[in-house]
Symmetry: C2
DNA sequence: CTGAAAGCGCTTACAG
DNA sequence: CTGAAAGCGCTTACAG
């Protein structure tokens, strides 16, 4: 353990090798876990690395074709707190699996998305995570690039199905939980705030509602009112507020509201309360996402939790499974995560 | 313009050179804007690059010591929506300046922070942005690493002063705006929710309050009550809720509250309302950050806007100024951004 | 204005 | 078990 002090800064395998009286190739073998190194040598190298804080250059590794330990993560936007939670969760999960995460935002613009993926591929990362899938425009180009460079990729909760390993959130199930909860409370007529075919994930939810409505012999047209805007911009509090104003003008207002997400729900709730309506006295309200704020408004919002950590754990598992040389026969694995109903105080009996 | 189709995929300067009948060195010169290339040749290369979607490998460039076009961004945590807004804003600003951003979260843990900076340095990035500064433990090590590798870095809104270019948010000014607003409404006694010396940025705000209190001949002890917890964990809605419960037990409750941030303010507001207090009828409340949700609770929250975009614009300017070879004489430039008061409906006259 | 060499830090064959 | 070569894609000197 008589570790001499290094001459200069140890910033390469060559420098480390010189310092230890070994050749740089031996260092590389230890780094890559090759079995032919004498255990004693291997131990010495590892100890010195920790002691000197030496980290092999990811740039060198990448160029030579080795593993870089880096995973690229691509998000469409960071507007909603749920996305921030996903980023934080994914970052931690990746770190736990020994990966470093590079995040990029595309603002939902196809040309940026393409540029980002191109950059990820050029960086020779170990894998890609596409949160929310990809735009239709780039589908062919991105799939071709991934195949050409043999880059593993995972989709998380994509808006459309694609021929890539995928972790899905069962949104149809989520909305059914909310719908059933309201049915049990005796509600029979419903307003949908911001949920339509055009919005991301809207179709899956409508499907869930339709199926359940049919099984309960509710007519979609008679019992359901859909309130949406053509180009709403951000799907946020202000959108909920605007939709609530439309709701207030309805002749025969449903007593239960299902909102696109918690922000829309809270924006709407605030507006309804300002109009003198009581939640849940006059109208019951359900959100989606279980944002932290949902538990801290008056009344606490009933909502659906996405199980973000579970989504991310599956994603990283799918990624490492691909990265590993085995198991590559299994084509396009799919994992489904079921969201959960969080009952708050914004839903009550239909009177 | 008779562009022949390439033989295979064009994935290196060598391949592009062959395709164009040039040498790969010429391609490199065009890439780096060297002046000795014939304009016609330069134009041909640029056109082909766009047409073929060729992007020079950042890995190759990094290894050779050239500019990588990548900037590392280090955040302590992603708990608050304000951080998400900062990330999104910084990403856009960096993109506008031709940089790609790599984001890392440290969860406020020194060992992760050190690892992250080490990795950024090893990646030979063009620069670093440290949002919220760095932990005291790593100060010496990180400054030494940056100096040794001549890596430019910018601090955004650091909790402590450091010998690096810095963009500061004038928090002292922010809290004074809030305080003055309440004074003008006739308030004389104040509760501080979560604002103390121990919490990040607490000292600057207390300083602002003290100065203003002195100038108005208010005694800090007689007119100000501080409510905080020793180890509050997340500075979020739930924290505000707990502090509001403490506030409710006070014998002689101040009629004005200054909260650490909007989450604490909203958590507190909700709790106060549940206790039957009216905001602002019984108590006025001011937050900090101007989160989107602040404008969509009942009543709309009076708060302080950080001018996030301005912060980020300054940061990227400082970074590019460093990256450029000139201007390096100027030591540790500092930019100060003044926050702004956003008057909502949560503050009213003291009656 | 353009060609050819050297070398950034690493890994994977190929020798011993 | 370990040494030395080749080469990943690029840029910066140095020649012509």
């Amino acid at each position: 353990m008589t570790s001499e002090l290094p001459q200069g800064p140890i910033a390469s395998t060559t420098a480390l090798a010189r310092h230890l009286g070994l050749s740089r190739w031996t260092i590389s073998r230890v780094l890559n876990g090759h079995p032919e190194v004498k255990p004693e040598t291997s131990r010495r190298v590892r100890e010195a690395m920790i002691q000197l804080g030496f980290v092999p250059s990811p740039v060198g590794r990448a160029l030579r074709g080795g593993r870089t330990g880096m995973v690229g993560v691509c998000f469409q936007a960071l507007g909603s707190p749920i996305v921030a939670r996903k980023i934080a969760s994914l970052q931690r999960t990746l770190r736990g699996a020994g990966f470093r995460a590079l995040f990029e935002l595309t603002d939902g613009r196809p040309e940026i998305e393409l540029e980002v993926v191109r950059h990820f591929v050029a960086m020779k990362l170990d894998g890609l995570v596409l949160v929310g899938g990809m735009t239709t425009e780039n589908e062919a180009a991105i799939l071709a690039m991934l195949a050409q460079h043999r880059m593993s990729a995972v989709l998380i909760d994509p808006a459309r199905e694609l021929a890539l390993p995928t972790v899905e959130l069962d949104r149809e199930h989520g909305i059914r939980l909310a719908f059933e909860h309201l049915l049990e409370l005796g509600h029979t007529r419903f307003a949908l705030l911001g949920i339509d075919e055009d919005v991301a994930y809207g179709r899956a939810r409508l499907e869930g509602i339709r199926k359940l409505a049919r099984s309960r012999r509710l007519s979609f047209d008679k019992h359901l009112v859909t309130l949406t805007e053509k180009s709403p911009g951000s799907l946020d509090f202000a959108y909920g507020r605007r939709l609530a104003e439309r709701y207030l003008t309805l002749a025969d207002r449903p007593r239960a509201i299902l909102a696109l997400n918690d922000q829309v729900a809270i924006g709407a709730m605030t507006r309804l309360q300002q109009a003198g309506l009581s939640v849940p006295g006059d109208v019951s309200l359900v959100g989606f996402d279980n944002l932290e704020v949902a538990g801290h408004v008056n009344p606490r919002l009933t909502t659906i939790d996405q199980h973000v950590d579970e989504l991310m754990t599956h994603a990283v598992e799918l990624l490492t499974r691909q990265t590993a040389p085995a198991g590559s026969e299994e084509s396009e694995p799919r994992r489904v995560v079921r969201p959960a109903l969080i009952v708050g105080e914004s839903t009550g009996r239909a009177t």
